[in-house]
């Protein structure tokens, strides 16, 4: 082994690790819960997808009522769906018909993805539930699923008014994932020589430090492929501007739209408003049915209606192939409503292009949504294992520096750093579980309530454990609190909505049932580990 190299790997691994550890923990913890985003949403809003999954989505009813209220003529209306959910984000643009809205200029066609971009005039953006038939604003419909999902790429930090190429939170998340990739690389090289010999070494009953070191290396090596996938797909999903923007200039003369068309995120089709009224009954559902038949029961990702009620009216339907037929297939079909013609068609069932394959690889691997609940549970366990690797890493860092030859002021600093990081990281477990109870107890939850409850609660808990400055206590108590709260999650659901576990089982509300059972299991496992920690502490004393 080259000693110089070994020590450089060691040092760069330590430094990059200690810089990102706290944020990476937040990302991993919130991200692990986000595997169950739809279950959490279904659980919180008390509307099961599974219990209604055979129900068709009634676009016409919604469009009729929107038409009465807003006059849809000349507007673009987009529906965005997520799998296993009857919630749809609905984006309605202002009308392009300048005879209808004389005061506002016609809204320019906007390219690119993203929520509610380019909405002007009297456009609207809301979430519509096709089962309940109610619409809510984004802030009203904000739930714990959305919160944890957005927390896992630090979206809440976008409020910070610093912008370098991307909103602050996304930028930070991108930098953290890149350093994470770097730390994984150096970590692997660091352990390379001992990877086989140390694989079976686990010495939990010897010195304290070896426990952390063994946990860190063993779990780190086992979880390495998984974490590498996350480091890479994570950067791509949150901060791919780093790659996209230079290539936009090198290959596409700075024309971003062209690149997005090439990557199949948008099409070059133009839909110019014609000012000729469409003399026809509009029935969107026929196009949906046609597409579903054509693509053999796909998942419809989005339905976009251009120029409603105009002869230039088009319906763009995008979807993923049913996983039974294709892993990577994505399709897009465009109908011209005037003559019911298909003007563009790429079936998700035809052979997936290279672009499709890479894109699906990124999404499927990151979201872990290709193998049902069992796969998601494995992903969750691996994610929590990542959290353990991070925590044990902080502890290795601290214990290795807690020696007599280290100056007192440095040791003090090291302790406080570890103390603050541990308190902040570990209190995430109890506050997440407690907020999940709070949103059940308080029926009128919205974005503000969740923000306040979660962030102030988190602050209070961390402050408390920082002041206590007892790492063992922080560790044991947060596990105890988190487990108790987790066990109370299904109880809170039962008391507040009557959806006890046996009721959801009986009605076939698998998603709600799943989340209750999941929380219960997490709580029980947490309690077991708490008692193990306690009894071990007694033996040691």
């Amino acid at each position: 082994m080259n000693l110089r190299r070994y020590n450089i790997y060691f040092h760069t691994h330590t430094i990059s690790g200690i810089i990102i550890c706290a944020l990476l923990f937040v990302i991993f913890f919130a991200g692990s819960y986000s595997f169950f985003k739809k279950e959490i949403s279904a659980w919180q809003s008390n509307t099961s997808y599974q219990a209604h999954s055979s129900q068709p989505i009634t676009y016409n009813k919604l469009l009729d009522s929107l038409n009465q209220k807003h006059n849809l003529k000349g507007r673009d209306i987009s529906f965005y769906f997520q799998e296993h959910s009857f919630d749809s984000y609905v984006d309605m643009s202002a009308s392009k018909d300048s005879t209808l809205v004389p005061k506002t200029a016609p809204v320019k066609e906007t390219k690119g993805r993203g929520r509610g971009r380019g909405r002007g005039g009297d456009g609207a953006y809301f979430k519509y539930n096709f089962i309940k038939g109610d619409s809510k604003t984004y802030a009203e419909s904000y739930d714990m699923g959305e919160f944890l999902y957005r927390l896992h790429f630090l979206a809440q930090l976008n409020q910070v008014p610093i912008r370098i190429g991307a909103p602050f939170g996304y930028l930070l998340a991108g930098v953290v994932s890149f350093l994470f990739l770097f730390a994984l690389l150096t970590g692997l090289l660091l352990h390379w020589d001992k990877i086989v010999s140390n694989f079976f070494v686990f010495r939990p009953w010897s010195k304290v430090k070896t426990v952390w070191t063994d946990a860190h290396t063993a779990l780190g090596v086992i979880g390495f492929p998984y974490q590498l996938i996350y480091a890479i797909t994570g950067i791509i999903l949150i901060f791919n501007t780093a790659i996209i923007s230079p290539f936009t200039y090198l290959f596409y003369d700075g024309k971003g739209e062209k690149l997005y068309q090439d990557l199949d995120y948008s099409t070059s089709n133009e839909y110019t408003y014609s000012y000729h009224a469409l003399e026809k009954n509009i029935n969107i559902e026929t196009y949906i049915d046609r597409t579903k038949k054509l693509w053999k029961d796909p998942f419809i990702k989005s339905v976009i209606i251009k120029n409603y009620g105009d002869t230039a009216m088009h319906v763009i339907i995008e979807g993923n192939a049913n996983r039974k037929y294709s892993f990577a297939g994505t399709g897009r079909i465009i109908y011209k409503v005037e003559n019911d013609q298909v003007v563009y068609h790429k079936s998700p069932l035809e052979k997936a292009t290279y672009i499709d394959k890479v894109k699906s690889l990124i999404y499927r691997l990151h979201f872990g949504d290709f193998g049902g609940y069992w796969l998601k549970i494995v992903y969750f366990v691996l994610g929590i294992m990542g959290c353990v690797v991070i925590i044990s890493g902080i502890l290795v860092w601290l214990v290795a520096r807690d020696k007599d030859n280290v100056p007192a002021y440095k040791r003090k600093f090291n302790f406080w750093l570890a103390n603050i990081f541990l308190a902040a990281c570990l209190s995430m477990f109890p506050i997440t579980a407690l907020t999940l109870i709070a949103v059940k107890v308080n029926p009128a939850t919205d974005q503000e309530f969740i923000y306040r409850f979660y962030f102030y609660g988190w602050l209070l808990l961390s402050a408390y454990y920082i002041i206590r400055k007892d790492l063992k206590r922080t560790n044991a108590e947060t596990i105890l609190l988190g487990s108790v709260f987790s066990i109370l999650i299904p109880v809170a659901n039962g008391i507040c909505t009557g959806n006890w576990i046996w009721n959801t089982y009986a009605t076939g509300a698998a998603d709600i049932l799943f989340f209750d059972l999941f929380s219960l299991t997490v709580g029980v496992i947490g309690l077991i580990s708490f008692y193990k920690i306690k009894s071990k502490a007694k033996i040691a004393a």
Binding site: L3, R4, R5, Y6, N7, I8, F10, H11, T12, T14, F178, L181, F182, L185, T186, L189, K209, I232, I235, I236, N240, A242, I243, I244, P246, F247, L250, F251, Y252, L259, D262, L263, Y354, I355, V358, K359, I362, V396, A400, R401
Partner: protein, 93 residues
């Protein structure tokens, strides 16, 4: 157990140079290297593939900067590599 100091870069300026060389120089090498493939295959394939290979290459280049003996040499070699990879663009201009 912390890494032994005698193997690490002592001068803060050298360290600064290494970090910047790894981040900025490494990035330039990575991008200019990938754009070369744009002459062989369609650019869109390069862009989508670079999502995977680009970040890994960048991280490796960052590490190589730390492994080097002299930060100046790293800067020099990354600058030369970038120049070399961008020759096709430069010559066309």
């Amino acid at each position: 157990m912390p890494a032994k100091k005698k193997y690490l870069t002592k001068s803060p300026f050298q360290r600064f140079l290494k970090i910047t060389a790894g981040f900025i120089g490494g990035y330039c090498v990575m991008i200019s290297f990938h754009q070369l493939f744009g002459y062989v295959v369609e650019p869109k394939y390069v862009v989508i593939t670079a999502a995977f290979t680009g970040y890994i290459l960048w991280a490796v280049l960052l590490l190589l900067a730390f492994l080097a003996e002299s930060a100046w040499k790293v800067w020099l070699s990354y600058a030369l590599l970038t120049l070399l990879f961008s020759l096709p663009i430069l010559l066309k201009l």
